[in-house]
Subunit: 596 residues, 2 copies
């Protein structure tokens, strides 16, 4: 049975020592976000994840969710009770608006809390996760009345939420969507259509489910310019805003999936269901996309979370399993074999995962802090920069981090040999659960197109130029740091390589957009590698300063060793990606479609 | 429901146009292996795979195998009947020794037939596949009487076979194995112990199961020098060699696995079961390893097979699914969206898979031909070369091809977006079934160690030197082929890069074996890339010669386009691997085990 212990030390290192999030308390909005409160929340979340959510993970995978003939859905044994406990303990709404009952803590706190829940039980964590997303959509686009009606109960967790975008014939291309909304005389709409892949679409964990649903108002323009967003509650509300009669929306089936089986992925049928417009008619995608950007950061975090729990279990196995002898002579001389952690190739896989995880955590948390600062920082220039970074890095965090997380999770499974393939050991579930992160919230190829086709060129390329300038400043500040020269050289090389690739794409993508499309995923990986190199260099500087300050805590020297692995063994991929990009569209597009 | 159509044209191109296997008929052993017979076998195998085995693939995954309270095991619906049909049609024993009822056809024919079965239904194909392996072991190591008793029934498929190596505490490190063999006065042995992960260990498809089991004879030396191989039939034989009373070996449990659910992976309990020594006492591993080398080629083939069936279904989906518009303007102007095959990133994944598959097929078939020629070629030098190549390339075919096959299969699943994650579409099963190929028959890290630690240095590095000389000759012959200059330059660069890496490993591995261990997987990938580049250059020469000869068959021009993709977009990985290798053991081994 796999275990999970939240990497509290590393989380706090990043939040407190690297990012100094204690500074947030100087802003009124976060004046109560002090270290003691954070520590209490992290420590409690860590305990809850290990003790409550982890044991339910395997159960969720085995049992899955059950749809009954009346369309109701039962979640796996224990899910309902664990969720009730979270609601009761006030664990939800950590960063939600206090006006609606939220705690108003920084978003970076939520990311950290979410990482622990997702690592322990990603299928479970999606129920509250999607509620946050749906509540966010209402907060961004809803009327005052809608906010007052729905948000307090969603923030507390009494009601949950969903996002209904995909239809059988359209996922990526929402312009094709057919779900219909017919205006009623009272200002509401009747929604009719079918949505698929609706996570947490139906379940028994909350007293109501608030569906956020994209539909096309009768007579609206075709394509993406005619899409509106609606609130469609599972149960309509009575005059007091409490649960009333059943609405005409129901779960038609639960999908049988490769993973995240504890989450009910539903086909949702809308049959003249009552719906309420959110924001302006025909402009539903705007609201949906604001919300989706945050969801994409969460998906990157889910990838990291699975990679981390897979790593922890692989480490335990590699220290325990004795097989063969070290190439440099026996290490466990009392036993008939050495633990497999002595073997370089086992270590290679563990180091790759560790170096990726810690870098990824830094990048995600750093981005989450940008999101917080964007809301409070007094300097407009800084707020603009934070917004630029988020736009630029969201596809990288979603796309690159999950691509890589799947690879590391597979490596961790590999360390178990045959046992990795047997469900009882739990490693298969980590791989299967991670697999979805490359797909949902916009498949990774779409992320790469978003990066190359939109984010890179936005505002004349300002985001990347600002980031480059920041990295240049950092390198100048640390140019005399000889102890960390490998980090600085690695970062500089990465930055230059990325710049060359950017230049190539700009010049050749203009000429033929397929040149940009053909190199987009490679480019996304290059930006992922470069930003992780930046995070690693920053972490190394912090760690080294602690060592120079006299700390004997091995955490710091280990941090530098891990970062060196990243710089030396992971950055070489940059050149390979650039070489591929430079071949352009021709080798990819030359074959006629009929010849495949 | 996924489909499969055997790539007959490509198989025949490789066998007949590239490898000229018709030439084998000039050797007496293969005098009947003419093109007409091959065509008939391939065409029949293709039909059987598509029509009979493919529909059973999903059923096998869903139903799995069932163990009953008496230890008997039922295979999925239809498996038994399909197997009976194969036995009846004489589809088994294609390359088996005619002395025991085999057809005596070249091994390359079997690889081709096996690829089709494995692509259609890999879990099913393992039942006959393991029988071939077990029969081979008896043929190599058994007495005349053993051969006469067991082989005819195993070759016909009336009886099946298994390999019993792994125990709960040992897989890779067989020296630790504990299963005990106690000599009896009649020359037989009583075998006692537990074996795990025994594919096809118990089932209802044949009237007897012949287990090949590794055990340690009482008093034998510890470690690998005290391991013997035994025949342990499920049912003991009566005096006529027919099925008699039940032997004391039984299935204790079926494992719940990530994939290949149609195959019964059993815990086998031996409780003083009657066993018969194969070959010399304490020298069981020799026989086992001869057999395992062939099994490793088969596993590489399984990887290719899954990658190919995943590719076929991804192509069909990419041509059918309309979503978004081409970056260069609408292509399907009559519809609201273009088929996703217009998108460069979808094509990138398809091209990567296609270029890998066709190269991998050439490498596997070429190696299988070497195995055939090793048995018949009159020139001792040539036989030595064939044996050298097989030794060198077996770990590459097993390790590199399956690593890469998993990646391409995942890419093909990705093309389906959300539908790829839903079991009904079948792509998840391809990924889950492919996953085992990186693990069994020696995990891929072990293959890399075998390559770097043993095969490379064997006979003073003769194998690689011979291969290099062959590639040099090929390059000289084609130095003036300007049409294919990209192929020749790519191959030359790959060869040089591999040579540099070999040199580095030899120099630095001597100094510290962990340097070799740390770079072993990267090196295995380099050799995989280089040998595929060689295969592609050879295929391109054949295709170009057909074009130059006036052929208008687009197969040939498509072959060259596909090969160009490999050269331009896949070879750039070589430099990344070499850069990683050159960092040596230090970044991998620097962290204390306790710091993981």
């Amino acid at each position: 049975m796999p275990t999970y212990n939240a990497p509290v030390r590393d989380m706090k290192f990043i939040m407190q020592e690297m990012l100094n999030i204690g500074d947030l308390t100087k802003y009124e909005k976060f004046s109560e976000a002090d270290t003691e409160t954070l520590d209490a929340i992290i420590d409690h979340g860590a305990k809850f994840s290990s003790e409550i959510l982890t044991p339910l993970n395997v159960i969720g995978d085995k049992e899955g969710c059950t749809r009954h003939s009346d369309g109701s859905v039962t979640t796996p044994t224990g899910f309902k009770e664990a969720y009730a406990q979270m609601v009761e303990n006030g664990m939800l709404g950590l960063s939600a608006n206090p006006e609606y009952g939220g705690m108003g803590m920084p978003g970076i706190w939520s990311i950290a809390a979410g990482e622990m829940q997702s690592a322990a039980n990603t299928a479970f964590s999606m129920y509250p996760g999607l509620t946050n997303g749906a509540a966010k959509a209402i907060e961004i686009g809803g009327t005052e009345e809608q906010k007052k009606t729905f948000l307090p109960k969603m923030v507390s967790g009494q009601w949950t939420g969903t996002m209904n975008l995909t239809e059988p014939h359209c996922g990526t291309d929402l312009g094709l969507l057919k779900t219909k909304a017919v205006p009623q005389t009272d200002g509401s709409y009747k929604i009719t259509g079918q949505k698929i892949f609706i996570s947490a679409g139906e379940h028994d964990m909350s007293e109501n489910i608030i569906h956020l649903c994209l539909a096309r108002i009768e007579g609206a323009p075709e394509g993406v310019k005619g899409i509106s967003l609606f609130i469609v509650p599972k149960f309509k509300l009575d005059e007091k805003g409490e649960v009333g009669p059943k609405n005409a929306v129901s779960c038609g089936a639960i999908e049988h999936k490769m993973g995240i089986n504890g989450n009910a992925t539903c086909v949702m049928n809308y049959d003249e269901a009552d719906g309420y417009l959110v924001g302006e008619a025909d402009k539903g995608l705007r609201v949906m996309f604001v919300m989706m950007n945050r969801a994409r950061l969460d998906v990157g975090m889910q990838g990291l979370a699975q990679s981390d729990v897979a790593y922890q279990n692989a480490v335990a196995y590699a220290k325990d399993r004795a097989q063969g002898r070290s190439l440099t002579g026996p290490k466990n001389t009392d036993g008939p074999a050495d633990p497999i952690i002595v073997h370089p190739d086992v270590r290679r896989m563990l180091m790759e995962t560790k170096a990726f995880n810690e870098g990824a955590r830094a990048l995600i948390y750093w981005s989450a802090l940008m999101e917080d600062l964007e809301t409070v920082h007094p300097d407009e220039k800084f707020r603009e920069k934070a917004d630029d970074y988020l736009g630029l890095l969201t596809p990288v965090i979603k796309g690159y981090l999950t691509d890589k997380a799947l690879a590391t999770t597979i490596d961790c499974q590999q360390i178990f040999g045959g046992h990795g393939f047997i469900e009882e050991w739990g490693m298969s579930q980590f791989v299967r659960d991670t697999r979805i992160t490359l797909i949902y919230e916009g498949a990774n190829g779409i992320q790469a197109l978003d990066l190359v086709g939109r984010k890179l060129a936005k505002n004349g390329g300002r985001a990347l130029m600002t980031l480059n300038a920041e990295m240049d400043d950092f390198l100048s500040e640390n140019s005399e740091n000889e102890t960390l020269s490998e980090f600085m050289e690695g970062l500089k090389k990465a930055k230059d390589s990325l710049s060359n690739a950017t230049m190539w794409l700009m010049q050749n993508g203009m000429q033929n957009p397929d040149n940009a499309g053909s190199g987009s995923v490679d480019y996304m990986h290059m930006m992922g590698l470069t930003t992780l190199a930046y995070m690693w260099a920053k972490m190394a500087v912090v760690a080294q300063s602690k060592i120079d300050g006299g700390s004997n805590d091995e955490f710091y020297s280990n941090k530098i060793i891990t970062g060196r692995y990243f710089i030396l063994r992971m950055l070489p991929m940059l050149d390979a990606h650039f070489a591929k990009i430079k071949t352009g569209a021709e080798p990819i597009m030359a074959l006629k479609a009929s010849a495949f």
